[in-house]
Amino acid sequence: MGKTFAEKILALKSGKESVITGEIVTVSPDIVMSHDNTAAIAKKFKQIGIDKVKHPEKIVIPLDHCIPAATEKYAANHKEIREFVQEQKIENFYDINIGVCHQVLPEKGHILPATMILGADSHTTTYGAFGAFSTGIGRSEVASIWATDKIWLRVPETIKINIEGEIPPGISSKDIILHIIGDLGADGALYKAVEFSGKVIREMDIGGRMTLCNMAVEMGAKIGYVEPDEKTIQWLVARTNKKYEIIKSDTDAKFEKISDYDISKLEPQIACPHTVDNVKPVSKVVGTKINQALIGTCTNGRLEDLKIASKILHGKKISSGVRLLVFPASMEVFAQAMELGILQELVKSGAVIMNPGCGPCLGAHEGALAPGEVCLSTANRNFKGRMGCKEAEVYLASPAIVAISSLYGEITDIRGSLK
């Protein structure tokens, strides 16, 4: 019987010949990521009673959740992190001018196929787009790994999701993953490894694969995974000189379930308030008035996302009732978008260009909503209170849908303007 990617890598990282699903193994991760929560983690680390982290070279810390600091309290938090990084000689620290963790780690060459990345952030699943095993953990766990270099993990069953067909015009990876989450539900892949495969995935660029793996956690998945291919290798060439291997599921591996999707007739998809699995085709919500439109975050703040938005907004003005906020996912994306004239286009259309970071996605600062307001966002969560106000509503969609809707002040089907 063959093995899945998850079984193979957990055997490798726990130093065992082989493991079976359900088994609990102890592993040493390759990378441990934390962000603005690092100060709180450092306090827990000190409570353990030791002074030095075991492997400073494994630690990566980007600041992104509330940058630049919104208040004195956030500023003090950042200051504690900078001091901790100095004290522990942590070299891979990215201050407020670099970007969102899930964009920055791949850009800076920290993510390699067949490595294990654990992060104090639920969307750590993103790095499965590069064939890595990556998942979210809690603050105490990061502190404990800093001290011991060890953590327990359960070997997950794997669900394979085959995506076939031709991507229709106006449809992106965001629509595909929203459709799958709507279909399987918020716990449809609870504790499972989710392996995305099929023709559509092979043809999909790395950014699209990152969007899929980023949102795998919204159906409860432990990891998302895409088998590395020539596209992955090409992407990595520009980022790192480090050697890596590639681990794939065997062709006769035992999957718990195989789900097939043909997306040839897929409509743009919208996640409606207040759960990510409350997904409807755009035709059901067209005309819903919006106050704010947001393009960015770790889900859809990449260059290709901004390109799509600027193409749609080119030469047009956003609706007078709408605030359009654009958060490039990293400073690299910001600089490229500037050089290509994308940011200029967006500004001419009435967008506010924000600095790379998480922005209002989790309601901490920048662009919070007022009671009764509606935001259409490219982010990954729309829970009640998510953007700072429990009387506000958040809809999730692709960059194309958010861009076209900002022109009309209401949720709009992109396909109308493609004809």
């Binding site: 009673g49 992060g119 609870l190």
Partner: protein, 167 residues
């Protein structure tokens, strides 16, 4: 290890944003203050009225969403003695254990418990006693139970590193 407490019952997919809103994640650092905001966006009565050892009973996928550990911390410091659910989101499951907050996964029990009733849980025996009867649940794996018994992951880590004290 057993507890008795009053039930606060909720439905499926109770997410971390309604348990502990994201806007507080970096501004509130004292666990006792976190407790004042527990379940703030789901049930405004909860934080004011919850008593020590009260038990949350919920549907599927409890704690879905963010990895924020404060979602478990705020419930623990609000006095919650255990959470019984049909299933738990994986990071919340880990966070609760790591905070020394016991979890029981038992679909049948959830379907038979009403809000406000008094229930009793024996974690060692894997038994839950409520008005409608006794329900059995599988005990947690040994390695996970060890963390719970030590009062959470930080004291557990301190123990395995054999550090006597450290604050």
């Amino acid at each position: 290890m057993s507890i008795q407490g009053k039930v606060w019952k909720y439905s499926d997919d109770v997410n971390t944003d309604v348990i502990f809103p994201g806007k507080y994640t970096y501004t509130i650092t004292d666990p006792k203050e976190m407790a004042f905001h527990a379940l703030e966006d789901l049930d405004s009565k909860f934080a004011k009225e919850v008593k020590k050892e009260d038990i949350i009973v919920a549907g599927r996928n409890f704690g879905c969403g963010s990895s924020r550990e404060q979602a478990a911390t705020c419930l623990k410091y609000a006095g919650v003695g255990a959470i019984v659910a049909k299933s738990f989101s994986r990071i919340f499951f880990r966070n609760a254990i790591n905070q020394g907050l016991p979890l029981v996964q038992c679909k049948e029990a959830v379907e038979n418990i009403s809000s406000g009733e008094l229930i009793e849980i024996d974690f060692e025996k894997g038994k839950l006693l409520c008005k409608k009867g006794i329900f059995n649940f599988p005990p947690l794996p040994e390695s996970v139970l060890g963390i719970l018994k030590d009062g959470g992951l930080i004291p557990y880590t301190r123990k395995i590193l054999k550090i006597k004290k450290g604050e």
